[in-house]
Every structure is written in structure tokens, then in C-alpha cells.
């Protein structure tokens, strides 16, 4: 019994001394930090995606409070959060339109054949560097999942070897845009409906050999889209995303079958959600 009391008081005493020391240290040696930084961090989504251009949410919070960085740089923030930030920091900012990513390619395993069997690091940049990629189409999605792996919200799925973004899951950070070695992914306003799912700059006959759903450069869509919303850039039709438009028959009228009127081309695959491609 005596030993127990001695031990308990000894350990307890040490603990008490340490606690007092820590409290004093926190008081007198503590680093002064603006209270608001922590409050801002709590408001931010915490995805640390880097879309704002800063090194994570804490860094952006500090920049906002101390350096006066714009408060509307965080894409994943909703209007509510922006309002809360505005009130907290006493600054006005316009909400930016919600943007989501879209992969402008429709060449999956069925429509876009491979021209070689790639053996090596299962990363799109790596595959692209070895001999220009293993697909016949020199511009299309290689399907090794680098974008899916870098997406902080798991919004990118590889459906039949083609990267596809689920717009409802996309937080708009832009990490995938920076990752794709063929620059196939674009950030577009979430309300846009018409998309040309092809980025091939090759001429029509070459595209036909490379993919059954590629843009053959016929420019029929440019006439169907009002107000010059689709333009030809060389042999490729490119949508002008600054304009909001729609046309009920534009997808059917496209001879290349590369235009869609919604984000996810292969909706039947959504039912069987596969894991994004793992390691090499």
C-alpha cells in the first residue's frame, strides 16, 4: 500500500509539474498567430488539392488572412462557404461559376485500338514517353489512370480503359488537368451540356483509322451550334465554353459520333463502378 501511494504521487507529481510547465510555455513562448487563420482553415473544405495555387488549405488560409489573397480562389468551396469567408474577413468577393473537369476523348478499348503492348510503369506520362504511347491515336487517352490517382475526391473512373469524370463528384481543383500528359482534360462550367469528345489534331482519314468515335473534321456541328459556339481549329471541332448553348439533335447528326450532350458518355458503366487503376 505504501509503495502504491509513493508511486502514484511520484508519477502524479511529475505529471503536474509537466502540465504547469507546458501551460507556462504556451503562454509565454507561444507563437502569435492570428486567430482567424484557424477559423478560415475550419471553413475550407480541407481537400488540400492545390487548386487555389497554394500549398494546401492551411497555406491558403494564411495567405488570405495575412497577405490578403483573394478569397474566391478555392474552387471546391460552395457559395455558402464563400459567404462565410466574406463575413469573417470583412471582404467582398464574387462567387465564381462552378467548374468541373471533363476528359475530351471518347476512345476507349473498344473504339480506339492499341498499336503495341506496353510493358512498363503504369503511368500515363511514362507510357506517353515510351515510343509516343501504345495507342494508334497519338492524341487520345492512354488509360493508365494517372488522373484518377491524383483526384482528391475519386471523381475519375476508368471505364473500359478511358478516363471519365463524374461531374457530381468533381470538386473543381484542377489536379487532373495538370497531370494528363496529353492535355485532354479541361475545366468547364458545370452547366455546359454539349461536348466534343475528341482532341485529335490529325486529319479525318487518319482519325478514322485510329478511332471509331473521333472527330473527322466535317464541321457539320459548327453549323448546328448557334452563335459560333463550336469552331473548327484545323481538322478538330472545338466547343467555345464561354457560351451556353444546346441543340437537341447535335449528337445524332455528328457523323463521327464524337459529340455528346451530357458529361458521362457511357452511362451504363456507372452501374458497375470499377476501382481506378492501381499501381504498376
Amino acid at each position: 500500500m505504501g509503495a502504491l501511494v509513493t508511486t502514484a504521487s511520484a508519477i502524479g507529481g511529475v505529471g503536474l509539474v509537466c502540465a504547469v510547465a507546458l501551460a507556462l510555455a504556451a503562454r509565454f513562448l507561444g507563437v502569435e498567430e492570428d486567430q482567424r487563420i484557424e477559423e478560415v482553415v475550419d471553413l475550407l473544405p480541407g481537400a488540400n488539392c492545390g487548386g487555389c495555387g497554394f500549398a494546401g488549405c492551411a497555406d491558403y488560409a494564411k495567405a488570405m488572412v495575412i497577405e490578403g489573397a483573394a478569397i474566391n480562389l478555392c474552387a471546391p468551396c460552395g457559395a455558402e462557404t464563400l459567404q462565410a469567408l466574406s463575413e469573417l474577413l470583412g471582404r467582398k468577393a464574387e462567387a465564381t461559376e462552378k467548374e468541373v473537369a471533363i476528359v475530351l476523348c471518347g476512345g476507349n478499348a473498344t473504339s480506339a485500338p492499341r498499336r503495341s503492348a506496353y510493358n512498363g510503369v503504369a503511368d500515363c506520362a511514362a507510357a506517353h514517353a515510351v515510343g509516343g504511347g501504345d495507342k494508334v491515336c497519338q492524341y487520345g487517352c492512354l488509360g493508365y489512370g494517372s488522373c484518377a490517382r491524383v483526384c482528391p475526391s475519386g471523381a475519375i473512373e476508368l471505364v473500359d480503359g478511358l478516363a471519365t469524370v463524374h461531374p457530381d463528384l468533381c470538386i473543381g481543383c484542377g489536379a487532373c488537368v495538370r497531370t494528363c500528359p496529353r492535355h485532354l482534360i479541361k475545366m468547364v462550367p458545370a452547366t455546359r451540356v454539349v461536348h466534343v469528345l475528341c482532341s485529335s489534331r490529325a486529319k479525318g482519314p487518319v482519325v478514322k483509322k485510329a478511332c471509331t468515335v473521333g472527330c473527322i473534321g466535317c464541321s457539320i456541328c459548327t453549323k448546328l451550334a448557334e452563335d459560333n459556339a463550336i469552331r473548327m481549329e484545323g481538322p478538330l471541332a472545338v466547343v467555345d465554353y464561354s457560351k451556353q448553348f444546346d441543340h437537341p439533335e447535335i449528337a445524332e447528326k455528328c457523323p463521327g459520333h464524337c459529340i455528346v450532350r451530357h458529361q458521362t458518355p457511357n452511362t451504363e458503366h456507372r452501374a458497375s463502378l470499377k476501382e481506378p487503376a492501381g499501381t504498376s
Binding site: R114, A117, Y118, N119, V130, D134
Partner: protein
């Protein structure tokens, strides 16, 4: 297009040629190298040796398979590294150890020391030695109960040379005892017994160039020199150097445990430093430490230094000065 069949050419980065070696090949060579030691173990310790070796190998392979399945990874047992761990663990055990304890040791070696870190290549410590250390600390009694080999006629429980030294102090290590230690006619763990069998196996690995001479030579050399120095300073309190070289787990440790690729340095100067460090620690533990045998802990401690040693012994890049 390619040739008439619809077969695509394989495209990869260079080089497109390979020496033909594989991890499995390495493990097979190590298993072959351990066969003489296993044969010696069975010869001297009969059914106990067979029982323990079989148990450890089976338990290690099964544990690895189960762990990989639970982690959702490929099974990995075909590279035979679990078999090697099993054999090495068994060779580190006393012949009278109960079977269930050997199973526990195997599970610790594979599940904790290897798979929890990510599997082969990621483990910082030698799995077999971690298994042995865990058993030694958990079941000290059975792990330090030794028997004489079937070839000796004395009582079944006996003391190994190192235990004799620890218990009774310095004694006369006769040439007969030395010969026995070399050939295997001596008490100890399964693998400690026959230095000769271990040397034959190590020669095979050296010839196949899977281990280099640096670690064994620097390790055993340091032990010999350290022991020599102690013995010269005070022959009454210390055993002669050849005693330390021939007894205990030193030869097994220096030839097969310290040379484990994953946990030892990758550069030749680094291997030398590693060997010297193991040698010093082994002798310190034997002479002044709490355990009669220091090899296992010495190697485990040096394993922790391997990344640092690798960093410190980076080779001088062609075309650059030393400091760069």
C-alpha cells in the same frame, strides 16, 4: 501494321535484354546454400531438427499467404522468400523448442517484421532474427534450454559453450572441443552446430555472386581481433579468439543473417562498416552484456543503421569530385 498475325509488338523502355536472374532464383540459391546446414542439423539433432525446420517453413509460407490475402495483394509466396525465412528461423532455434512456439515465431517473423512493413524489400529488420528475438524475450526458458546432439552420450539437457562461459567463467577450450564446434558435434541451436556445413553453403552463394565476402570477413575478422585483444590483455578473464569465432551463432549470423540483402547496405564500403559494427556489438554483448550470445541483437541493431550507412557510403560519381 505488324506481321500477318494480329499480335502486337511489345514496347517497353530500354534495355530489352536481361541477365535472367529473378528474386526466386536468388531464394532458390539460398535454399541450396542452406541444405548442408539443414542436413547437419538433422544429422546431429534428428527428429527435432526435421520437425522444427518443417514447422517453420510451413508456418512462414502460410502466414505470408494469409497476410497477403488479407491485404488484398498478390500472394507473393512463389518468390520463395518465406521459405528462406522459415529455414533461417528454424536454424536459430534450440532443438527442444515446442512446435507451437516455432509457429508463433514464424508468425511474428512474417506478419510483423515483414508484411506489416509492406512485404519483401520494405522490411528494415531481418525477419528471422526478429522472430527469434521475440521468442527469446517471450519464452526465455524454452529458448535457452539446450540439448546435446545425438552423437554425444551425455545427458539430454546440456549447456552450450557460451552458456558454460557465462555460468562458470573462463575454461580450457581444448582442440577437441574446437574440432567439435567446427564439425557440429556440439550443443546449440540447429544452425549453430556445424561451421563446416555453413561454410560450404556460403561458398555456393559467393560463387553465385549473391553475397560478397565483405560482410562475413569484416564481421568475423572484427570478432576475432576484438577477442584477441581481450584475451591478450587478460587471458584469465577472456576466452581465446578461436573460441568466439567457432561457437554460438556467429558463423550462421555472419554468413547468412547479416548478409541478408534487404537489411544490409548496398555499397561495398558500407558492407565493411556493417560487418565491423556487428562484430563490435557481438563481442560487447558476449563479454559485458546480459545475454551469453550477442549475434542476433548485434545484427538487428546494425540493420537499423543500414539506411544511414548507405547514405554515408555513396560512391563517387564518375566525373565528379568526392565532395559533390
Amino acid at each position: 501494321m505488324t506481321d500477318t498475325e494480329e499480335q502486337l509488338y511489345i514496347v517497353s523502355s530500354s534495355p530489352h535484354a536481361h541477365s535472367g536472374d529473378s528474386v526466386r532464383r536468388i531464394m532458390l540459391d539460398v535454399i541450396i546454400a542452406l541444405l548442408p546446414a539443414c542436413a547437419a542439423a538433422v544429422f546431429f539433432f534428428r527428429i527435432d531438427a526435421a520437425r522444427l525446420i518443417a514447422t517453420c517453413v510451413a508456418a512462414c509460407v502460410a502466414t505470408e499467404w494469409l497476410c497477403r490475402k488479407a491485404m488484398g495483394r498478390d500472394s507473393g509466396i512463389t518468390d520463395l522468400s518465406a521459405v528462406v525465412t522459415g529455414i533461417l528461423l528454424a536454424l536459430n532455434l534450440p532443438p527442444s523448442l515446442p512446435t507451437w512456439m516455432a509457429v508463433v515465431g514464424s508468425i511474428v517473423a512474417i506478419a510483423i517484421a515483414k508484411q506489416l512493413f509492406g512485404g519483401i524489400g520494405y522490411n528494415p529488420f531481418n525477419p528471422a532474427l526478429v522472430g527469434r528475438a521475440a521468442l527469446l524475450i517471450s519464452f526465455t526458458g524454452p529458448m535457452t534450454t539446450w540439448s546435446n546432439p545425438a552423437t554425444l552420450t551425455a545427458a539430454t539437457t546440456a549447456a552450450t559453450p557460451l552458456r558454460l562461459l557465462r555460468r562458470y567463467g573462463v575454461y580450457d577450450f581444448t582442440p577437441t572441443m574446437a574440432t567439435n564446434a567446427f564439425l557440429g558435434n556440439i550443443g546449440g541451436s540447429l544452425g549453430e552446430a556445424s561451421v563446416l556445413a555453413l561454410l560450404i553453403g556460403a561458398a555456393w552463394l559467393l560463387w553465385r555472386r549473391w553475397i560478397s565476402w565483405h560482410i562475413p570477413v569484416f564481421y568475423v575478422g572484427t570478432v576475432a581481433l576484438f577477442a584477441l585483444a581481450l584475451w591478450l590483455i587478460d587471458p584469465q578473464q577472456n576466452m581465446p579468439p578461436h573460441f568466439h569465432v567457432l561457437t554460438g551463432g556467429l558463423m550462421l549470423g555472419a554468413l547468412f543473417m547479416a548478409t541478408d540483402m534487404v537489411t544490409s547496405p548496398v555499397t561495398k564500403p558500407g558492407m565493411a562498416i556493417f560487418g565491423v559494427g556487428c562484430g563490435i556489438l557481438t563481442m560487447v554483448i558476449r563479454r559485458w552484456g546480459g545475454y551469453p550470445e550477442g549475434t542476433s541483437f548485434a545484427i538487428l541493431i546494425m540493420n537499423a543503421f543500414t539506411p544511414l550507412i548507405n547514405r554515408a557510403t555513396r560512391p563517387r560519381v564518375f566525373g565528379k569530385k568526392r565532395s559533390a
